[in-house]
C-alpha cells in the first residue's frame, strides 16, 4: 500500500516529478561523465604508453605523470649509454611537444628505426612510415577528429607537415614526426623528453633499472607497469581535488532541487498530511512516506542519469573522437549512492517539517 501511495503521489504531479528526476539525472551524469573523462583520458594515455611495448621509462627527475609537459631536457646521447647495458635489447628516444594552438595535442618526435625496434612498429591503416623530414603519421582517431587523410598537409607548430600514413591508435601518441625535425622546430637540439627501453626479457627489468640508475643517478627510472598503475586520479592530487569539486557541485544541485521539490510538495500536501494524521499516521510514517517518495524519485533520476551519461558520452565521442570517457560500474554505483544520500539529506527537513504539522491546522489548509 505504501508503495502504491508513494508511486501515485509521484505521478500525480508529473511535471514536478520530471524536474526532480532531471536534477538527479544531471547530477549523476555530471559525476559519471567527469570522472569517466578524467579516468578515461588517464587510462587511455597509460594504455598508449603500454602499447609501445617498452619495459622501462627514463625521464628527467622533475618529470610528472604528464609526460607531454616535461619539455626536453635530456641529451639524446643517453640512449647510447643505455644501449650498452647488459640485458638492454633496444632503446628509443622520444621528444614530446605539447601543442595548444588549434587544439590540445602532444606531438611525438621519434626516431623511426629505434622506435620500430622497441615497439614492433605501427599497424598501418593507410600509407607508409616516416621517410622525409616533414612527414607525419597520425593515428586513426586523430585522423577522424581532424578530418585528415594521407596526402593532406597538417599544420602544427607553425610547420606544414605532410600526412604520409594513418596508423592504428594505441601506441604512444596520436601524432608522430621525425625527432630531428621537431628538435629544430622547438629549439631542443639533440635533446629528448623520454627514453623507452626494451629489455631482452621482461624478468631483467629490475636489473636493467638498477644499472641505469647507476649511470644516470639524477634521472627518474621507472618500469612502464608502475607508470600504468600510477595513472589514476588518486595519484594526481589536483585532479582528485577537481573531481571532488565536481562531485560536491553535483550533490549540491541535486540536494537543493530535491529540497525545493519536497518543500513544495509538503506545502501543497498540507491537507493530505492532516488527513493522514487524522487516520492515525505517526510522525515516523509520514517521514517514511516522504523519504520513500524521494528515494523512488531518486531511483528514476539515477536510471535516467546513467542513460544520459551514455548519451553524452556518445555525443562527445562523435564530436571529439580522441576523447576517452570511461564509464565503470563502480562509479555508476558511487554516483547513485551520492545522489541518493544528497536527495535524502535534501528531503529530510521538509519531511521532518511535515511530521510536525498540527493536524487541525493542516486539515483547514487551503
Amino acid at each position: 500500500m505504501m508503495g502504491q501511495f508513494v508511486w501515485r503521489n509521484l505521478f500525480h504531479r508529473p511535471v514536478r516529478t520530471l524536474i526532480g528526476m532531471l536534477a538527479i539525472a544531471v547530477e549523476v551524469m555530471l559525476v559519471i561523465t567527469i570522472v569517466g573523462l578524467t579516468s578515461g583520458m588517464l587510462q587511455e594515455t597509460a594504455k598508449r604508453i603500454e602499447g609501445i611495448g617498452a619495459d622501462i621509462m627514463v625521464q628527467p627527475n622533475s618529470s610528472t605523470m604528464f609526460i607531454g609537459f616535461t619539455g626536453a631536457p635530456m641529451p639524446i646521447k643517453i640512449a647510447d649509454k643505455i644501449a650498452e647495458l647488459k640485458y638492454v635489447q633496444y632503446v628509443t628516444p622520444a621528444l614530446l611537444q605539447f601543442n595548444t594552438a588549434g587544439g590540445v595535442e602532444t606531438i611525438w618526435g621519434i626516431d623511426p628505426i629505434s622506435f620500430r625496434q622497441v615497439s614492433n612498429g605501427f599497424v598501418f591503416l593507410q600509407g607508409h612510415g616516416l621517410q622525409g623530414p616533414d612527414d607525419m603519421l597520425v593515428d586513426d582517431w586523430q585522423a577522424k577528429a581532424k578530418h585528415v587523410k594521407v596526402g593532406d598537409t597538417y599544420t602544427v607548430l607553425n610547420h606544414a607537415w605532410k600526412v604520409v600514413g594513418i596508423v592504428e591508435h594505441g601506441k604512444a601518441g596520436r601524432i608522430f614526426v621525425p625527432i630531428t625535425t621537431l628538435q629544430e622546430l622547438v629549439g631542443a637540439h639533440d635533446k629528448a623528453t623520454i627514453f623507452l627501453v626494451k629489455c631482452t626479457r621482461a624478468e631483467h627489468t629490475a636489473d636493467v633499472m638498477e644499472e641505469i640508475k647507476q649511470i644516470l643517478p639524477s634521472n627518474k627510472v621507472q618500469p612502464v607497469k608502475e607508470y600504468m598503475s600510477l595513472m589514476t586520479s588518486t595519484n594526481i592530487p589536483a585532479l582528485q581535488t577537481f573531481i571532488n569539486s565536481i562531485i560536491a557541485l553535483a550533490v549540491s544541485i541535486g540536494l537543493l532541487v530535491i529540497f525545493l521539490s519536497m518543500y513544495t510538495t509538503v506545502l501543497e500536501r498540507t491537507r493530505d498530511i492532516g488527513v493522514l494524521k487524522s487516520l492515525g499516521a505517526s510522525k515516523f510514517m509520514i517521514v517514511r512516506a516522504l523519504l520513500a517518495e524521494t528515494t523512488l524519485l531518486c531511483f528514476l533520476g539515477i536510471l535516467s542519469g546513467v542513460g544520459l551519461s551514455y548519451t553524452v558520452r556518445a555525443a562527445f565521442l562523435k564530436l571529439f573522437p580522441t576523447l576517452s570517457i570511461l564509464i565503470t560500474p563502480g562509479w555508476v554505483l558511487r554516483a547513485a549512492l551520492i545522489a541518493i544520500l544528497g536527495a535524502l539529506v535534501g528531503a529530510s527537513y521538509p519531511a521532518w517539517q511535515a511530521s510536525r504539522k498540527d493536524a487541525v491546522e493542516a486539515l483547514a489548509y487551503d
Partner: protein, 248 residues
C-alpha cells in the same frame, strides 16, 4: 462550570435504569480548550460536559464559532484539551502524549470531514485501503468488501476523487472512517458540501451504520433536518453545551 447532559435514548426497549449501567464510550468532563492569539487567550470550549453511550448517535448543533469543531477535534485527539478530561473507551486523551493519541485515534476513532479530505492521488479503493494500512493490520479484503458494498461503492473503487461526485466522495470517506471498526465515528458537517439529495443519502448511510451496526456517531451539523436521523441533539453556544435533548 459546564452543564451535564441527561442521557436518554429513543429506544423504547431500554429503560433508564438499564442505560445508567452502561459505561459511556465517550466521556467529556469539564473540558476547556484555549487558543492563543498573540497574548490573548481565546476559549473555544468553556467547561464542556458530554457523555455518549456505545451505539448512540449524537448530533451537535450550534452557530458558527460556538466550538463544535473544537469539541470534535478534542474528542478525536487531534487537538489537546487545555483542561478537563476526555475519556475515549476509558482512555484519557488529555494525559496522553501526541504519539499515544495518534495510536488511539488509529484504532478507536474514525473521522469524516465536510470537505471529504480524500487523498487525490489515490483511487477510492486506495483511500479506503490506506486506512487499513495505517491501522497496521494490512488489507482485509473481506471487511473491505462488506463496507464498500454497504456504502454502495461497487463500480467506483477504481476512480480517483476527481472523477467522483460529492456524494460518492463522502461515502468513500465514510468507508475509510469505518473500515477499521472504530469505537466512535466523528463527523464534521459531512453534508455541508453536498446537495439535498446526496445529503439525504449520506445521512441515511450514517443512520444505517448506527442502527444496523451499532456504530457510535457524534456528528456536527448546521442542518436541522439532519437531526431527525439522530437519537439525540446537543446544542452548543459560546463554547458550552446549552441543551441536550432527544432528537424527537
Amino acid at each position: 462550570m459546564g452543564i451535564t447532559v441527561t442521557i436518554r435514548t429513543n429506544s423504547a426497549e431500554n429503560t433508564e435504569s438499564e442505560i445508567k449501567t452502561l459505561e459511556p464510550i465517550l466521556k467529556v468532563e469539564n473540558v476547556w480548550k484555549l487558543y492563543h492569539a498573540g497574548k490573548v487567550e481565546v476559549p473555544a470550549l468553556r467547561g464542556v460536559n458530554l457523555d455518549v453511550l456505545p451505539g448512540e448517535a449524537v448530533a451537535v448543533m450550534g452557530p458558527s464559532g460556538c466550538g463544535k469543531s473544537s469539541l470534535l477535534y478534542v474528542i478525536g485527539g487531534l487537538a489537546k484539551a487545555s483542561r478537563g478530561r476526555v475519556l475515549v473507551d476509558g482512555n484519557d486523551l488529555v494525559t496522553m502524549t501526541d504519539a499515544e493519541r495518534t495510536k488511539l485515534r488509529r484504532s478507536k476513532i474514525g473521522f469524516v470531514f465536510q470537505r471529504f479530505n480524500l487523498l487525490p492521488a489515490l483511487t477510492a479503493k486506495g483511500n479506503i485501503a490506506i486506512a487499513q494500512y495505517i491501522h497496521g493490520d494490512g488489507f482485509d479484503p473481506h471487511r473491505f468488501e462488506v463496507v464498500t458494498k454497504m456504502l454502495g461503492l461497487d463500480g467506483r473503487l477504481n476512480h480517483r476523487p476527481a472523477e467522483m461526485s460529492g456524494g460518492e466522495q463522502q461515502r468513500v470517506a465514510i468507508a475509510r472512517a469505518i473500515i477499521n471498526e472504530p469505537k466512535i465515528l466523528l463527523a464534521d458537517e459531512p453534508t455541508g458540501n453536498l446537495d439535498t439529495k446526496n445529503s439525504e443519502i449520506v445521512l441515511e448511510m450514517l443512520r444505517r451504520l448506527n442502527k444496523d451496526l451499532g456504530q457510535t456517531i457524534v456528528m456536527i451539523t448546521h442542518n436541522p433536518e439532519a437531526t431527525t436521523y439522530f437519537d439525540r441533539v446537543v446544542h452548543m453556544r459560546d463554547g458550552v453545551i446549552v441543551d441536550g435533548i432527544p432528537a424527537d
